[in-house]
Amino acid sequence: MAAVHETVETVKSVDVDAYKYGFVTDIESEKAPKGLDESTVRYISAKKNEPEWMLEWRLDAFRRWKTMTEPDWSRVHYPKIDYQDLYYYSAPKKMGDGPMTIDDVDPELLRTYEKLGIPLREQEILAGVTTSRVAVDAVFDSVSVATTFKAELNKAGVIFCPISEAVHSHPELVKKYLGSVVPVTDNYFATLNSAVFSDGSFVYVPPGVRCPMELSTYFRINEQNTGQFERTLIIADKGAYVSYLEGCTAPKRDENQLHAAVVELVAHDDAEIKYSTVQNWYPGDSEGRGGIYNFVTKRGDCRGARSKISWTQVETGSAITWKYPSCILRGESSRGEFYSIAISNGRQQVDSGTKMLHLGKNTTSRIISKGIAAGRSDNTYRGQVFAHRKATGARNFTNCDSLLIGNRCGAHTVPYIEARNASSTFEHEATTSKISEDQLFYCMQRGLSAEEATALIVNGFVRDVLQQLPMEFAVEAQKLIAISLEGSVG
């Protein structure tokens, strides 16, 4: 009951327009000239001091992007994006070149992260009340401003650094893996990202190593009219284990901002990667003004036998979400998991889901998706489960449930289930309903208000997924859910 009470308290403590990360950090930025052409790509590459091969890779992607057309198959509607009316690179001005210590970071930036609840000074983290430590890579607009606990991770042999740094310090790994899961030509937004990505995290866990702490990246868009194009690459070598968390917020602005990220995961034999996201980009106001367009390509490659990749996501933000974290189950007996809570309110549009591509023998996958639509939003689950002819013994279980709150929203389910051999077993079930009057009545009869009762039932509805989140995130996610549904009851 305590958790319920907390949820309800959180709901009460926030204003009608509930987004609490909507502040702007007043900081001077250095930006690439507006618009996108080859010179923009060269500008970004030069800013990052990149080697020639990296620039070529970007230019190749840019040339391909120019021949592609924006996809229109998803159930989201938005005015055409003017790709020439955006800044593709923005960095806080006071950032020096090369590596620096936390003391070199602009205090204004540190304050921003403190405000967001992300302490960047290790001693503060150690002194804090949090029992477990989390290493953080903080990305502000187009650059990584700080990465904590690098030294300690180094001792374990784990590489955790901004990807722009990895290009210099570990070019062999970057060359080998970058674009190997999400090819440059994969889709419109991934190709755009390949051309103009500015920063993101790079993780390499060597064979047999269990990463000693949770790794995390916190993405913040601050600058106006700026797109964020981050790129994350995580490699777990044989028998390694890593758990990675991702969080994101942005200021309230009246115009829409573009966020097109690419995340690539590679798991070798017996390795396991657990990737959790709490996505809380600015969703726009209740009339649908502003908000982030979130076009993200996330894909994991279970390259080795018995490897495992698990995606967990809590999606509450963004005006538009277009995101399908997928698993390519190549290794024999590899396993993919996808746990998702997608909550839409106001005028948000969510089109999200997953792809489980069974290519190896005896591969297994599980999909648990919970969609909650409120206000005037549209919430779509779109997922594909595919078993190749050679993927004998493949197994999938899918469960996607939708909950509708109010009669002006929509919940949709679009699963593609494709079997190409006789020994694969697929199960898929989906339901859509509203919160049952009986359940509400039962709770209210015992003294809960309508709002409390709804919060309790919704928490029960999404519990399967919340349980998959690391502890630190589970608490935050639970609060987020309450906030997102605020105002939708009654």
Binding site: R389, I405, G410, I417
Partner: protein, 423 residues
């Protein structure tokens, strides 16, 4: 993309377009011209069209057979009391005596008269934005319009019997309309059973179910056709009941597409069994649009796939904002017997009302080894044990066929199919 590339017509599309020659009253000509223009814009559907995601008709209908010549009229006998309306090679040759309360007109008469109501029901039905339904509207030159008077209960079925006279490759284009008056009750059989046929059959059947009326539709698709494109366009008025069962087995390519517009407090049930082997490709695509409150829909489709056959099921349940208290349930189950067989499932929900209960389930699996072992341990040979399990799998859908004669025929077919497999 270069626009000129898009406008290139395939040989199939060009051949089909060349068959367009509308006749009749100005009103009917205009409607068919509009349908033809839509087809010309869209072309034959390919995988790029979401509702045709798993059936690339552009590729599979590359060679269009010449249009069938007219067939001579002949006497048609009733079958066990059921009224038979027979089409040979795409042309209606006659029918047995019509039951009381039933009237029938030929399509050409209707086109010549051009009365707005009938034309609307024929050409402006649900599904008319689909390129294949549009193609049918443009090219269909034969068919019947059947009216069942209000309050009439027909004890025996009306059978629409589609026959091929021989194995010559022909293109057939037919469009039929069955209007069932308020409170009437009817069993409507759509039968494609000719063996060794190689026709390309384009058929659209519009059914309008009146208030409180009840229609049970049985589709028997076991003819050896080259292509069967069967569209079922259903409009169910308040309190109406529409139940449909389909047996799909013969033919190189079968595409059934069903649109149902469900009015207030209606009941809709769509079910089917597909038995496929060899290189057969059968696609069932349906859309149930709940537009008014309190309706209920149930779908249950079973696919049994052998050889290198392909089964496709795409189902979409739409609940419009107004359709509160909708109860929708959709199930698709597939049994894959061979490693070369393919099953593609896409059960969709599209829901805009909050006070609803909707769900779908889809499974793909092989025969259960434990069940097989259980039967074999009791002395039943393997092939027979398999046949028993497959029969049981199919049975739960077949059970919904109300008409006893029809149900027995379907069951016999399922058993024979299994026997042929075991041999």
């Amino acid at each position: 993309m270069d626009v000129s590339v898009k406008n290139l017509k395939t040989t199939g599309e060009t051949a089909l377009a060349a068959l367009f020659a509308p006749s009749g009253a100005a009103a009917s000509k205009a409607l068919r011209q509009r349908a033809f223009d839509l087809f010309q814009t869209m072309g034959l559907p390919s995988r790029r069209l979401e509702s045709w995601h798993y059936t690339d008709l552009k590729r599979m209908l590359a060679n269009v057979a010449p249009r069938a010549a007219t067939s001579a009229a002949a006497n048609v006998d009733a079958e066990a009391g059921a009224c038979v309306i027979r089409f040979v090679d795409g042309h209606c040759i006659g029918h047995s005596a019509l039951p009381k309360g039933v009237t029938l007109r030929g399509l050409s008469d209707v086109l010549a008269q051009g009365d707005a109501d009938t034309l609307g029901a024929l050409y402006a039905s649900v599904g008319s934005e689909d390129p294949v339904v549009a193609l049918n509207a443009a090219l269909a030159d034969d068919g019947v319009v059947i009216d069942v008077a209000a309050g009439v209960t027909l004890d025996a079925a009306i059978i629409l019997d589609f026959v091929s006279s021989d194995a010559t490759a022909r293109s057939e284009f037919m469009r039929c309309l069955v209007r069932v008056g308020a409170g009437a009750k009817l069993t409507l059989v759509e039968r494609h059973v000719s063996a060794q046929a190689s026709a390309q059959r384009h058929l659209a059947l519009a059914v309008s179910v009146g208030a409180h009326a009840s229609v049970s539709h049985v589709f028997e698709g076991v003819a050896d056709l080259d292509v069967l494109l069967a569209s079922l366009l259903v409009d169910v008025a308040a309190q109406g009941n529409f139940q449909s069962f389909a047996l799909v087995s013969g033919g190189r390519l079968t595409r059934r597409q069903i649109w149902v517009r469900a009015g207030q407090a209606t009941q809709v049930g769509l079910r089917g069994v597909s038995l496929l082997r060899g290189e057969q490709h059968a696609d069932t695509t349906l859309v149930i649009d709940h537009v008014e409150p309190n309706s209920e829909s149930r779908e249950l489709f079973k696919h049994i796939l052998d050889g290198s056959a392909t089964g496709v099921f795409q189902g979409k349940v739409v609940v419009q904002p107004n359709a509160q208290k909708t109860d929708g349930g959709m199930k698709s189950h597939a049994l894959i017997l061979s490693d070369d067989a393919t099953m593609d499932n896409k059960p969709e929900l599209e829901i805009y009302a909050d006070d609803v209960v909707c769900g779908h389930g889809a499974t793909v699996a092989q025969l259960d080894d434990d069940q097989l072992f259980y039967l074999m341990s009791r002395g039943i040979p393997k092939t027979q044990a398999q046949a028993m399990l497959i029969e049981a799998f199919a049975l739960s859908a077949v059970d919904f066929v109300e008409d006893e004669v029809q149900r027995e025929q379907v069951m016999t077919f399922v058993r024979d199919w299994m026997m042929a497999r075991g041999a």
